[in-house]
């Protein structure tokens, strides 16, 4: 007896509500975009500049007392958050202190760190700084540029690759799905105000890669079926292809999610934001490869003269197994 996530043979119609799905996605993208514009992202020091101190004490953290202790130092905006994690021991109380970039200075001076340590030791004598990170405004500005460039490059590279391997309609569908995923991820980070740092960019690019992986598998089947069923309409072929690959799509998404969820729960708080982005990305990416990428393809239509091509195969449109 095998575990089956789905019935043996599905023949669901994924496009009967194509407009609805596109509509929902469209609305979500707009909402995410508005949130991004209005609320902005909660930039970590990688992008905003400034200093974060991660401190540990055996005594319970009193955020208010910390705040009033730091007040006289006049360091500008200070954010103090207690960090909770199931992997912490009973006496492990962790707090994260973010200090804004100081006017006219690249990175925070050792004296400032010492001052902070001294005043905090009055509140919690055994406090220890387990990590201190400081990024100057020059670098943070560049990091933003590089990050944006990296995401754009990735999307551009994908556009070209799929265009070469398939047709431009496929490429457009895949890229729209990617943009959809990236915008929704930015949206949720803005909506929940989760700290957005350099690692999240890595997560974004991985989401691009993952979502694409899913889309390409569906498209690959579409290409194969378009050759095989010449009389079927594009919509029928698309539906057939998605149904055929559906069980694989679910299997892979599920195994990936299983791995990510264990990392989310057990992997510690340092990378939790990063893992959250990827979990979100896997879900959105799976959704978008069916409901955005494929729907766009159905709307755009594809030229069907694959038969001509199969006689003179273009490099890359057919790959023969070696063995």
């Amino acid at each position: 007896m095998r575990l089956r996530l789905l019935p043996q043979d599905t023949s669901w119609d994924f496009f009967s509500r194509a407009r609805l799905w596109l509509g929902i996605s469209g609305v979500l993208v707009v909402v995410a975009f508005i949130s991004f514009v209005v609320q902005g992202l909660n930039y970590g020091i990688d992008f905003a500049g400034g200093t974060t101190i991660r401190a540990e004490s055996s005594e319970p953290i009193d955020v208010g007392a910390y705040r009033s202790a730091l007040q006289p130092l006049e360091l500008g905006d200070i954010t103090i958050t207690e960090v909770f994690d199931p992997t912490f021991g009973p006496d492990e109380n962790v707090v994260s202190i973010a200090i804004q970039a100081q006017e006219g200075m690249e990175s925070v001076t050792a004296e400032t760190i010492e001052e902070v340590r001294t005043v905090l030791q009055e509140v919690a004598p055994d406090i220890e700084f387990t990590a201190v990170e400081s990024v100057g405004p020059t670098v943070s500005g560049e990091l933003i540029q590089t990050a944006i460039l990296a995401v754009l490059l990735a999307i551009g590279a994908v556009l070209i690759y799929i265009w070469l391997r398939f047709e431009w309609q496929f490429a457009l569908g895949a890229v729209l799905a990617l943009v959809h995923d990236v915008v929704l991820t930015l949206g949720i980070f803005s909506e929940l105000q989760i700290r957005f740092d350099l690692a999240i960019i890595a997560a974004l690019l991985t989401i691009v890669g993952y979502s694409l992986n899913d889309t390409v598998v569906v498209f690959d089947r579409v290409r194969e079926n378009l050759r095989r069923y010449k009389s079927k309409s594009l919509r029928e072929v698309m539906n057939l292809s998605i149904n055929e690959t559906l069980s694989r799509t679910f299997m892979t998404s599920l195994t990936t999610l299983l791995a990510l969820i264990s990392l989310f729960v057990l992997g510690g708080d340092v990378i939790r934001g990063f893992v959250f982005a990827m979990i979100w990305g896997v879900i959105v990416g799976t959704y978008s490869s069916i409901f955005v990428a494929s729907t766009v393809l159905v709307v755009l239509g594809v030229k069907r003269d694959w038969s001509k091509e199969s006689q003179t195969p273009k490099a890359g449109t057919q790959i023969d197994s070696e063995a």
């Binding site: 050792a110 387990t130 990735a154 890595a202 890669g209 992986n213 791995a259």
Partner: protein, 554 residues
């Protein structure tokens, strides 16, 4: 149809075996690390029984490459420094001024009196009193220019001279600026490396980043500040003419002169010295602690030919006068020149203890940084936090593994077991490759491995699902398996190439931890495609050949 030639089977298993063997040392991380350190110590000449015993803890016939742990896992300090290359322009202009002055003074009849004008630090402005002499003056100053020493700037001269009325403006030509920037950054890099090596920490990484930046990552250092102290942000060594050796805080300072503290002569002691150095620390090639003829601790030093010439000329012309050795804007000693020092060898005597002379020699040998550093980014990660991350990452990996493996067996039965074995091999191969190329594992890198565990089964899933489909169209098992692999191939290739492209972009554009993630993700894609297309396939074929089942269930 399912036949795989023997040589290919052997090749596949050989690759797996080599990969796993390379990964093996990582299972005994601390033991191998101790052994490697001992081996290195023995190689560098040290040897004692303890080291021998330590080295023996890991057999020498096994590979001993380890995955480097990133700062976020091991703890340590990270600094991104920007070299203030403009400092060097300024110094060049300061040292050019006497040269220009002397050259023009030789033609006083045509150019008249020469005075230096106030200017931006990176240019030299010179006023001459005879308006008619401008052309001649331009010619003379241009004659001082030398060809640029670099590959790209070949043919260009190092100075750009222009005239505006009676004022000549001298600046470094663009080709020279580029060449000089490059030299300065390389020199700073080398000096930082030497200083960190003198402290003897493990696996420091000191890399040039972009035009004028240096990234310094040193594991095991307590804080970024400690690292900054080691590097020393302003150590600047110069040899300068002394105007007045024993000066007071309120001594009059003439133009081109500077009043500097002289701590060895007392708290309130100062020396008045010229701003333009005769020779600077860049020209120093060696310094050793030694004793002078009266058996007092001293430091012996040697200049490169350029420095030797300048120093020789100066000392010959100034026998009997004192000169100052200035370090970090402090006069450390102002010895009298007893005779011309030719050949570039000299000795610094002062009121040193043996220890002080040794320290000074180290400081001189390590050289002064050619320019100041500004720190753009500083990170300190405590070792406990790193250990916590490793522990959490390990647990997460194991749980992720178990969950995915159980899930695969439940879904695909025996084929799931094959995929699971391949998955184990896959993670082994990732570690093997990481050790082989000496890559650095970071916390996001661990996340990359966990993600790979989830995604690695994808290629297998694609194949198995395809085999299921082929079985539905009532083909025999052998044909279904072969077709499954054949038809899934294009999807596997396309899907993985696109993911691989994003990993490459991440690697190219990311830094530090993100790069670590890109590496494990990229390697994970390679190994997972290999294990899915070859390893599971060999396992399935071997199983099929033995059993010859009439029907199979996937």
């Amino acid at each position: 149809m399912l036949y795989i030639p023997l040589w290919r089977r052997i090749l596949i298993w050989a690759v797996v075996a080599v990969g796993l063997l390379l990964a093996l040392p990582n299972l005994f991380y601390s033991r191998v690390e101790v052994s490697n350190d001992a081996a290195q110590a023995i190689e560098s000449g040290l040897t004692n029984e303890e080291l021998q015993a330590q080295e023996g803890r890991w057999p020498s016939f096994l590979p001993d490459g380890l995955v480097n742990l990133g700062l976020d896992l091991r703890g340590g300090a990270h600094l991104l420094a920007e070299v203030q290359v403009e400092d060097v322009y300024e110094r060049r202009m300061d040292s050019l001024w006497p040269e220009v002055r002397d050259a023009l003074a030789a033609e006083r009849d045509t150019v008249g009196f020469v005075t230096r004008e106030q200017s931006e630090p990176d240019v030299l402005r010179v006023r001459i009193s005879e308006a008619d002499g401008v052309d001649r003056a331009l010619e003379i100053v241009r004659g001082l220019a030398r060809p640029v020493v670099s590959l790209t700037g070949a043919g260009a001269m190092d100075l750009a001279v222009s005239a505006d009325g009676q004022v000549l403006t001298v600046r470094l030509s663009e080709a020279e600026q580029v060449a000089l920037d490059d030299r300065t950054v390389r020199q700073a890099l080398e000096i930082i490396r030497r200083r960190i090596d003198e402290v003897g920490t493990r696996e420091p990484s000191i890399q040039r980043q972009g035009e004028d930046r240096i990234l310094i990552q040193v594991p095991g250092v307590g804080s970024a500040q400690e690292l900054k102290d080691i590097i020393g942000t302003t150590a600047q060594l110069t040899f300068r003419p002394v105007v007045q050796a024993f000066a007071e805080a309120d001594t009059d300072v003439g133009s081109g002169e500077e009043l500097l503290p002289f701590p060895s002569q007392g708290d309130e002691a100062y020396a008045l010295v010229e701003q333009a150095p005769v020779v600077s620390g860049e020209d120093l090639v060696d310094a050793q602690p030694t004793f002078d003829q009266n058996n007092r601790p001293a430091v012996n030093f040697r200049f490169n030919p350029q420095g030797a010439r300048a120093f020789g000329d100066y000392t010959a012309a100034n026998v009997g006068a004192p000169f100052a050795i200035v370090l970090d804007d402090e006069v450390i000693s102002a010895p009298r020149i007893n005779e011309a020092i030719r050949g570039g060898n000299g000795i610094i005597t002062g009121d040193f203890t043996v220890e002080e002379s040794t320290d000074l020699a180290v400081l001189l040998r390590a050289g002064a940084l050619p320019a100041e550093l500004t720190f753009l980014e500083e990170r300190t990660i405590g070792p406990e936090l790193g250990q916590d991350s490793i522990d959490a990452g390990t647990v997460a990996c194991i749980v992720a593994f178990a969950a995915v493996m159980i899930f695969m067996v439940l879904s695909y039965g025996l084929f799931g077991v094959f995929a699971d074995i391949a998955l184990l091999i896959n993670v082994g191969l990732i570690f093997g490759l990481l050790s082989l190329i000496g890559a650095t594992l970071t916390l996001p890198g661990i996340a990359g491995i966990v993600l790979t565990i989830g995604m690695a089964v994808d290629a297998n899933v694609l194949v198995f699902e395809r085999i299921r489909e082929e079985l539905k169209s009532a083909k025999g098992p052998s044909r279904a398996i072969a077709q499954g692999y054949e038809k899934a191939l294009s999807a596997i290739v396309d899907a993985n190439i696109t993911t691989f492209m994003t990993a490459v972009i991440l690697f190219a554009m990311g830094s530090g931890p993100v790069r670590g993630f890109a590496i494990t993700l990229g390697l994970g894609i390679l190994t997972s495609v290999f294990t899915a297309l070859f390893v599971t396939r060999v396992m399935i074929v071997i199983w099929y050949d033995r059993r010859r089942p009439k029907t199979i269930e996937v």
